[in-house]
Symmetry: C3
Subunit: 273 residues, 3 copies
Amino acid sequence: MSFITLTTDFGLSDAYVAVMKGVILSINPDVRIIDISHNIKAGHIAHAGYVLKEACPFFPKGTIHVAVVDPGVGNARRPVIVVTDDYFFVGPDNGIFWPIITTCGPSEIIHLTKPEFFLSAISKTFHGRDIFAPVAAHLSKGYEPKEMGLIIKDPVKLEIKTPRKKGNILFGEVIRVDHFGNIITNISKKVLGRFLKGSKPVIKAGDLIIKDIVNSYSEAGMGEALVLIGSSDYLEIAVNRGRAADFIGIAPYKIIGTEIEVRRNTNPITRTN
Amino acid sequence: MSFITLTTDFGLSDAYVAVMKGVILSINPDVRIIDISHNIKAGHIAHAGYVLKEACPFFPKGTIHVAVVDPGVGNARRPVIVVTDDYFFVGPDNGIFWPIITTCGPSEIIHLTKPEFFLSAISKTFHGRDIFAPVAAHLSKGYEPKEMGLIIKDPVKLEIKTPRKKGNILFGEVIRVDHFGNIITNISKKVLGRFLKGSKPVIKAGDLIIKDIVNSYSEAGMGEALVLIGSSDYLEIAVNRGRAADFIGIAPYKIIGTEIEVRRNTNPITRTN
Amino acid sequence: MSFITLTTDFGLSDAYVAVMKGVILSINPDVRIIDISHNIKAGHIAHAGYVLKEACPFFPKGTIHVAVVDPGVGNARRPVIVVTDDYFFVGPDNGIFWPIITTCGPSEIIHLTKPEFFLSAISKTFHGRDIFAPVAAHLSKGYEPKEMGLIIKDPVKLEIKTPRKKGNILFGEVIRVDHFGNIITNISKKVLGRFLKGSKPVIKAGDLIIKDIVNSYSEAGMGEALVLIGSSDYLEIAVNRGRAADFIGIAPYKIIGTEIEVRRNTNPITRTN
């Protein structure tokens, strides 16, 4: 049993996603196709990279993950397969796989150069159909990545901002707002734990100031803001039964990138002395 | 052949739904997963309950229906399986299965207490991933609900408003607005039939007053309001090629719960005497 | 291995699509169901017809394509199967299959008249569930279209506007705006090639005047408008990393049908003489 997942910014009101599925099933009718998301914001490579990184480890070993957020389609950017211990990733070499490459350990990257694994005519506008879908389908039939191209060592990187510490404050930033309006930051559970060393934090995000971290969304009062470690182990700002993104006091299109401060609640006696 | 359906309020722009699918397929790669809806309004337990009740009877016997609208995740609410004659339902015990329990006759409810059927680490924010997906996958492999926990008799109920009669008027209310803007009420074909006993009705809903009930959407003129018995056998207010919800004269966020009057068109001679 | 695709205007927040899938799987649990789109604009038969025409040729031979955009459900419009060399199409005879009928060459059209292939009760509001889903499922089990009804020769047509030439100008129109805001016209690569005969064009669409045709979206500067032949071989107006539909200077609800001018850039010396 072989699985292909799809992550794109194509939306679901056009034929684009279905065309990719048709191409795959025409090459390998036995493979099963699972949608991760087709609602990635148009052209937002980092958004796709994060969603894919979050979803992929839950899939069976051997799953082929296709990701197509590809504003540079038709120019010089390379089509690639990234091979990790557990999975194959197929898509453009534009940084979309950088979160995978940096977190899944040693991986091999193949520049796809063999047109016999593509559709017979290659457009300059839809490589999801012409290159990535057929390559994924051929992988699912057992072809080896190395048969399909050449190893490269210089994949395009994604600039990923990491939190920085300054005295008693840890500065992070918002990387995503989810469907519930929850605000997800780049501060991981691990980084936070090392910074706090057991002391209680105060978190500042736009207009919101929240004391302490809770465990679940319903630990705050209805409509009240809270902070917790979200399901993918990153610091998250939420509102019980509400949308934190509507409470932060920052225009929606500016929320991503907003600075988040985590202040260590040091012992007041120690400080005033 | 075994099927699992999914009904959630997770939307499709994050990794959440795909993560649940990955968890299921990692446990049982042979099961087939069908989406019912991931566009349930965030936290609207009743909306999920109605959609699930409407969809479930059309699926093959033995289908496992997972529903996760779970604002109380991580607190004391119990994870459950509801077993009916034909199906299994897996999700939180927060009223989401109440429409099923009250319409599908005798059922058995199991409180899920055995962590060996869950993922190894249980978060307090995402039981869809950690509990409900793996339990559904194990059910699909043939495990018995009773192996997974303890029978309970006190499931959480959902307050369901039923129509009430006052003289020649039947009062119901709006329970849902569908994708087409059709307004669906809690007045069933059966209740309506008993009330009307063959006489013609006049229906009042917000600004709309509609005489008689038609059989299909195109029996009214283009852009005209009509009333019919919808595909799930409830009284429905619609507009031919338009959105009834835009014609009712009530703000969109207030439509649900709006009172609907069905007036029996009694013989005028009898009334004036 | 047998496939059924679905194209509807049902959206994904109600039970409607899932109900159709349940009906299909109850009749043939082995068939695999692929969504083309459920976000067709409500009642827009032409939109569905174009999306289906664009997606269908990429699917394996024998695929059964169900399309339900059906504002006339419950009145006299006929339910049909259209049989082409490669596929079966199941849905209402309201013009939705006209783009298929006119481009896929000789086809046979069957008016569905045999209730033994439908659900036992036929509503006047949801033939997707009661007629089209069960007919598709029976086709996937090997029943012949001719067993299900009578051949008809007079399918309902869709008025399709074709480009017209006037001197050095080719007039086309906008037929669709896609998820990226790209504006897709009814001017095919073939018609354009014959008109230009190698000369360079100037394209006028609303406020936009664009010189020449490029090959890929990233050949214009960021935020600049461009024209190319899109992935389905029609002239398309786009903006590199932007939404052309927001730049054209025409209200969104008026864009479809907007006139597009392609002017042949004739030799200026010839013209002034």
